[in-house]
């Protein structure tokens, strides 16, 4: 048990060492949670649209990667339907 105390004391630098690691943990965990929440938000938004009967149409060219239709004109490699199914 004493070994553990020695370890946590960090030679008197505990007040600097542990907050450094703690801050990194909190920031990275927060970033990951925020990113996952963003995916869930977007999935919910798409689900709402589907419930309205929108967005199912493969006939329509869903340009997932383009902010607007003009920014993504057709290219030979672009087979059109960019609606990769999002897995939950």
């Amino acid at each position: 048990m004493n070994d553990l105390d020695t370890f946590f004391a960090m030679g008197g630098y505990a007040a600097f060492v542990w907050p450094s690691f703690g801050f990194a943990l909190v920031v990275l965990a927060g970033l990951w949670l925020h990113s996952r929440a963003a995916v869930r938000r977007a999935e919910a938004r798409l689900a709402r649209l589907e419930a309205l009967g929108l967005g199912r149409g493969r006939r329509r060219r869903a340009r997932a990667g383009a902010p607007s239709p003009t920014a993504h004109e057709r290219r030979p490699h672009d087979d059109g339907a960019a609606d990769d199914v999002a897995r939950a």
Partner: protein, 241 residues
């Protein structure tokens, strides 16, 4: 290379990479922490406080690596108008800001016991603080316009212009004789650090990199879904077909 501008393929790649990168990153970080906190001996000058290096240095490396990615993605988007490059840039910015914040805070926590001060306006510290503000500016600018596209372009220009800060950060410790110590590890000569201290650092750096990739893929996935929803809503507003 143009193939990757296809959103479908891009989406498939990020979905495939996301899980493995995140898990491998966490595993490497775990091993690096164990070796860095338990196995590596205390530094002969800095005692146990040198262990802050294991979070500070990888975070500082990531802050610059991420910015390079942000600038390249932004340049590709501005030049070729590939929406996918903009998705990547938007996903990278918050992750880069997070690693920069970690580098700044852990640096202050290291500076206090070693230098006797949390902060000095030395060239290295100031240029990294500027890097942090560039990330924040990028994110704010994206949302400052009614049209997402105009925001993306304005922010992209900021990201590309801000790239001049990277060499300033890198060489600040050589150009100006200030408080921050020069690089311990460089490609040009053998590192001035014992292997038992070096290995955990390299593992942590690789772990941070993989975690960064995993999180960016996750954010890019969210952005692709949002854009698809936006497209559907626009089509509906225009009357479908």
């Amino acid at each position: 290379m143009h193939r990757y501008a296809n959103p479908t393929l891009f989406g498939r790649i990020i979905d495939r990479v996301r899980g493995p990168a995140t898990l491998a990153g966490l595993a490497l970080i775990a091993v690096g922490l164990y070796l860095g906190l338990f196995v590596a001996p205390p530094d002969y000058q800095q005692g146990e406080s040198f262990r802050i290096m294991y979070v500070h240095v990888p975070a500082a490396w990531m802050s610059m690596f991420a910015y390079a990615g942000l600038a390249v993605s932004s340049a590709v988007y501005l030049i070729w108008r590939h929406g996918v490059a903009d998705v990547a840039a938007k996903a990278i910015a918050p992750a880069g800001a997070a690693f920069t914040a970690i580098a700044l805070v852990s640096g202050a926590l290291w500076g206090q016991p070693m230098w006797g001060t949390w902060w000095v306006w030395d060239a290295r510290l100031t240029s990294v603080l500027l890097l942090f503000f560039l990330y924040l500016g990028y994110m704010v600018l994206r949302d400052a316009f009614d049209s997402p596209e105009r925001g993306a372009r304005a922010a992209g220009i900021l990201a590309v212009v801000g790239v001049v800060n990277l060499p300033i950060i890198k060489f600040s410790v050589d150009w100006w004789n200030t408080l921050h110590q020069p690089a311990t590890i460089s490609k040009l000569d053998a590192p001035s650090i014992h292997p038992s201290m070096l290995w955990p650092l390299l593992l942590m750096a690789l772990g941070f990199t993989l975690l960064f990739v995993g999180i960016v893929c996750l954010r890019a996935r969210a952005e692709l879904l949002e854009r698809r929803a936006r497209t559907i809503e626009m089509q509906a507003a225009l009357g479908g077909e």
